[in-house]
């Protein structure tokens, strides 16, 4: 395997990790807010607050990993995306900043009860951030970033009038809500909270069909945006079919209220197949027509150093993450709220 394929696989995996953990987090923020608005607050609020535990502080790091890794492995990405995305990137940063800071203020500060402003910010950013970040995938299909006299330009008009952009945003939003509700169903059942389980199960089933419809919509929009890419997607159609099958199994299990752990693994597989299928057919371009993985890869020495650092880093990271999850995510006492929440 060449360094460029190895590098893009690593990066794509990080982004997949971010997609999962961030979706759970973003969706939970929204549901939390929604439950306050609709008066279901006391039914699901506790379970969400409980699971928004230290695990979720590490969400941002996945994103940073991807960005820093992308720029490290493919320095051209810094040039094209960096220049073109100054404004949207900064706006996304502001949203991330607001979300991160107010989450900490609320969780670690001394306020008790629910601050409506905080809840609103948390809920709104939960939807705006994925919407903003997903547009980068739309941009990567080409036709929106141009070179004018050696300067990188983003064509806002093309960007906003493009149905593909909107199909991606829509897909991002419904996926966030679906993934999050599926996870919360699993979590609520483990915690033995039947009332909360009933509510979040309803959310998960409700958002399942829209997820598939939005996926199909985005899938066929790629044909308009980038026919070459679409053709390559059809070549590996089995991945998308596998994704759909996983979806069916996940929803069935949730419907029957059985084996919710497996159901969530199916959700992960559903997105994994779609994500890697999309990514694989996107190659060899990181930005269509401008950043080609073979041409833009950094020198061999740096690539080897980065991959080595990555492997060593994983050796430290994976045990730490497992410890974290065992202490909080999968510790029955903690989930049920029997052990102390914070110092």
């Amino acid at each position: 395997m060449s360094y460029s394929i190895m590098a893009i696989t690593v990066l794509w995996t990080f982004l997949f990790g971010y997609l999962l953990v961030a979706s759970i987090d973003f969706g939970a923020g929204f549901f939390s807010f929604y439950s306050v608005l609709t008066g279901h607050e006391n039914k699901i609020h506790n379970i969400i607050q409980r699971y928004l535990s230290p695990v979720w502080e590490v969400t941002n790091v996945f994103l940073i990993f991807f960005v820093v890794g992308l720029v490290g492995f493919f320095p051209d990405a810094a040039f094209y995306y960096g220049t073109a995305l100054l404004v949207p990137g900064s706006l996304a940063l502001v949203l991330l900043a607001i979300r991160g800071a107010y989450y900490a203020y609320h969780t670690y500060g001394s306020q008790t009860g629910n601050n409506k402003i905080y809840m609103g910010l948390y809920g709104a950013t939960g939807l705006l951030i994925p919407a903003a970040l997903s547009t980068i995938l739309a941009i990567s299909e080409g036709g929106i970033i141009h070179m004018d006299n050696g300067k990188v330009m983003l064509h806002w008009n093309t960007f906003f009038t493009n149905p593909y952009t909107w199909s991606v945003i829509l897909l991002a939003l419904v996926s966030v809500l679906y993934i999050s509700a599926m996870f919360l169903s699993y979590y609520a059942q483990r915690a033995g909270d039947e009332v909360a389980f009933g509510v979040v199960r309803g959310y998960a089933l409700g958002w399942s069909l829209p997820t598939i419809l939005a996926s199909l919509f985005a899938f066929f929009q790629i044909n308009h945006q980038n026919p070459v890419h679409f053709g390559q997607m059809l070549d590996i159609a089995w991945m998308f079919i596998a994704s759909f099958l996983c979806f069916v199994v996940a929803v069935y299990l949730l419907w029957k209220r059985i084996r919710l752990g497996i159901a969530f693994i199916m959700v992960m597989l559903q997105f994994a197949f779609a994500w890697y299928g999309y990514g694989r057919s996107h190659l060899p371009y990181i930005l269509y027509d401008y950043i080609h993985i073979q041409e833009s890869i950094t020198n061999d020495t740096m690539a080897i150093a980065l991959i080595t650092a990555f492997i060593l880093g994983l050796c430290v990271l994976v045990p730490s993450l497992i410890l974290l999850m065992r202490l909080f995510l999968f510790d029955a006492n903690y989930i049920r709220g029997k052990s102390a929440k914070k110092g």
């Binding site: 220049t83 990188v152 110092g343």
Partner: protein, 450 residues
């Protein structure tokens, strides 16, 4: 707004983000050491006041870390958003430490999360303390990686420039450049100093407010003595940095000292003004001192600014940053020294008001010293972004919207800072230390044995 120079705007926005981030990053590197010290003392002496101290510090600390994650994310992305050409070109030689820093931070964040939530979860008290080891290693390693990248910008090496492309790269030679040892150790020592000093300020503030509990006196002692130890180390490393500059980056030292003619027996200039012909007025001149700073020898030759073309000289204003920073450094050593000799001082009170006010000033003073040192290091590197290879003006984005983004981030950081300060002060006001000592019954358990 869009007509403003993108280079200047990019510098201002990067500077703004770092101005905020450096505060949080400094605290993030130093506080774990202080937490470990207090918790260790608590376990060793069985004095629960120290354990409570660590616990209360940790509660505030986690908020600064969370905001630090936010500003750190901002600078991580802004490097590419504002300096795309720099990242594209220099990234080929120096991407490694930046990448490793995310791992180091990841480890720190994970174990800090665990530490914070597990105060009463382990039977063995030492287990909880041990969690701080990966936190401290993670945060100090983060500082090392980022500083080594900054060191590379000052002392680039480990590559060849062929047709505008960095080739023949050796990432480790680039990381371990001559500037790395002094820079990293100075950054670490000053972060430890500043964190101890900030905590000392809080203890002094409580005593000034008339709170008499022995808890605050213990807090004052452990923090002020730590500040002294770390500050002495920082000053000593600072002296090495001077010698490093004289040898490797003479134009920075010369600009900091307004030293124009290369000469031996060079005097050190303190304060003063420059007129339009670069004559120094009203300055204090200390004979031989610059030669001694540069090479431990009054006859040491010190290279002057006249050896460098005018368009490659740093701005002359760095002189003031240097002087102010050195002065603050001296004061930060002096105040804890007065505290340690307080019983020998005239007057009867063990904690005279003037001494407490001076200690209160320690925190802000050391933070200012950090800012000044950073100004000196970065403005003193001008006009280069990678010294000798790439100028700042060639590295910035060409986007015309940077001005608006600057406005956006000014508002963001103002809102975040104000709310962070409010949340922090509320946190400690709502649950005072005395109250907590009472509810936990710490005084009975032998907290007052001394």
């Amino acid at each position: 707004m869009s007509s403003l120079d993108p280079v200047l705007m990019s510098r201002m926005l990067t500077g703004l983000t770092l101005f905020v981030h450096i505060v949080l990053a400094t605290i993030g590197v130093g506080i774990p050491i202080m937490l470990a010290l207090a918790e260790w003392r608590g376990i060793r002496t069985g004095d629960n006041h120290y354990t409570l101290l660590a616990r209360r510090w940790a509660r505030g600390f986690v908020i600064t870390v969370a905001v630090g994650v936010v500003t750190g994310t901002a600078i991580g992305l802004q490097l590419s958003l504002l300096w795309p050409t720099f990242m594209r070109v220099a990234g080929k030689a120096i991407a490694l430490p930046l990448f490793m820093e995310t791992f180091a931070f990841f480890v720190e964040a994970i174990f800090l999360g665990i530490y914070l939530y597990t105060w009463d979860r382990f039977k063995n008290k030492w287990t909880h303390l041990l969690l701080l080891i990966p936190v401290a290693i993670g945060s100090s390693a983060s500082a090392f990686f980022i500083t080594s990248m900054n060191a590379f910008m000052n002392q680039p090496q480990g590559f060849e420039l062929v047709d505008g492309v960095f080739t023949n790269v050796n990432p480790f030679v680039a990381m371990f450049n001559p500037a790395t040892p002094t820079k990293v150790s100075h950054v670490l020592a000053s972060a430890y100093t500043t964190s101890a000093a900030a905590l000392a300020s809080i203890a002094a503030f409580n005593l000034l407010r008339g709170r008499k509990h022995v808890y605050f006196k213990k807090a004052l002692k452990i923090t002020v003595v730590s500040t002294f130890v770390f500050a002495v180390a920082t000053v000593m490393i600072g002296d090495f940095s001077g010698k490093f500059l004289a040898k490797y980056q003479p134009e920075k030292l010369a600009a900091a000292e307004w030293h124009f003619e290369t000469m031996t027996e060079a005097p050190l200039i303190y304060g003063g003004f420059l007129d339009e012909n670069n004559n120094i007025k009203y300055a204090l001149k200390i004979p031989y001192a610059l030669s001694i700073l540069a090479g431990n020898n009054p006859h040491q030759e010190v290279i002057g600014l006249n050896e460098f073309p005018e368009n490659e000289r740093p701005p002359m204003s760095v002189h003031y940053f240097f002087d102010l920073k050195v002065t603050s450094g001296a004061v930060i050593v002096l105040i804890p020294l007065l505290y340690m000799f307080r019983k020998k001082l005239p007057g009867k009170k063990p904690y005279p008001k003037w001494l407490l006010i001076s200690i209160l000033a320690l925190g802000p003073l050391s933070m200012s010293a950090i800012w000044l040192g950073w100004f000196l290091a970065e403005i003193g590197r001008q006009p280069w972004i990678v010294r000798g290879y790439m100028k700042v003006s060639d590295a910035a984005t060409t986007s015309t919207s940077v001005g608006w983004m600057l406005v956006l981030f000014i508002i963001l950081y103002l809102v975040l800072s104000v709310s962070a300060i409010r949340v922090l002060s509320q946190l400690f006001r709502n649950k005072s230390a005395e109250e907590e000592i009472r509810t936990l019954g710490l005084d009975i358990e032998g907290g007052d044995r001394k």
